[in-house]
């Protein structure tokens, strides 16, 4: 579930990045790479788990699925928080700087 949710997040972010490319003022490329990195790592983890469990890997318990689903959503949320913090710190459009200087005046 966690892997699936992260792959969906990576795909959606990549589509949004592609739609706006070559303009990447929102740093969506960073978010897409972050989700893809995590997806690849979990994919690796899933392969090892499949090797260990066999077909049982595809029939998880309901409680495990719900827990993994919550984890997946939390991971996506954490990724977005990291991306937003980086966006505000880097401030590629200069919006934060303009807002602060305006509020001082």
């Amino acid at each position: 579930m966690t892997l699936l949710i992260t792959i969906f997040a990576a795909c959606i972010t990549t589509i949004l990045w592609y739609k706006n490319a070559p303009n990447d003022s929102m740093n969506l490329g960073f978010l897409a790479l972050m989700y893809w990195g995590a997806s690849l790592m979990w994919m690796c983890d899933a392969v090892f788990e499949y090797k260990e469990l066999g077909a049982e890997f595809f029939a998880p318990e309901t409680a495990d699925m719900i827990n993994d689903g919550f984890l997946g959503l939390s991971v996506v949320a954490l990724g977005m928080v990291i991306w937003i913090v980086r966006l505000i710190v880097k401030d590629p459009k200069g919006i934060v700087r303009k807002t602060i200087s305006k509020s001082i005046k």
Partner: protein, 145 residues
């Protein structure tokens, strides 16, 4: 258990490499601005490509670290990894790092390698298209002359 530590370790190495390549490229740019301008316009700098790998490794490691916190495998107090509390679990953790962790790092690096190669091929193709697009104009110009 602690498989994310292997890609995180690789990320530290790639960050150092990115900084080294960036400063090297900057120094080259100062030596001959025009030559480098031509090179940059037709090829993506290696430091830029390395930054893609950095983002994948750091991002992936951070999100995986969160998963380990979720499962109670990483804690806020020393030794930070619950597997370090017993000898058997520590051995199992090291085994997982050497198998799953190394595979994760290799897979991410392999995908990055494919991305870097594909970007080079795309840039070369674009360059060739531009050159082939210019040729008929040159022939027409020469005919008119």
């Amino acid at each position: 258990m602690a498989c994310f530590l292997v890609p995180a370790g690789e990320a530290i190495v790639t960050i150092v490499l990115t900084k080294a390549f960036k400063s090297k490229e900057k120094a080259e740019l100062e030596v001959s601005k025009e030559e480098i301008h031509e090179a940059v316009s037709s090829k993506i700098p290696f430091s830029k490509k390395l930054s893609w790998l950095n983002n994948m490794l750091w991002g992936g490691s951070a999100l995986l670290a969160f998963e380990h916190v979720w499962h109670g495998e990483v804690v806020a107090w020393f030794p930070f990894l619950t597997a370090m509390e017993s000898h058997d679990e520590a051995i199992a953790m090291l085994h997982e790092m050497s198998t799953v962790g190394v595979s994760m790092a290799v897979l991410v690096t392999a995908v990055w390698g494919i991305m870097a190669m594909a970007s080079d091929i795309i840039m070369k193709k674009q360059e060739l298209d531009e050159v082939s697009g210019l040729e008929p104009i040159k022939v027409e110009d020469s005919l008119e002359d």
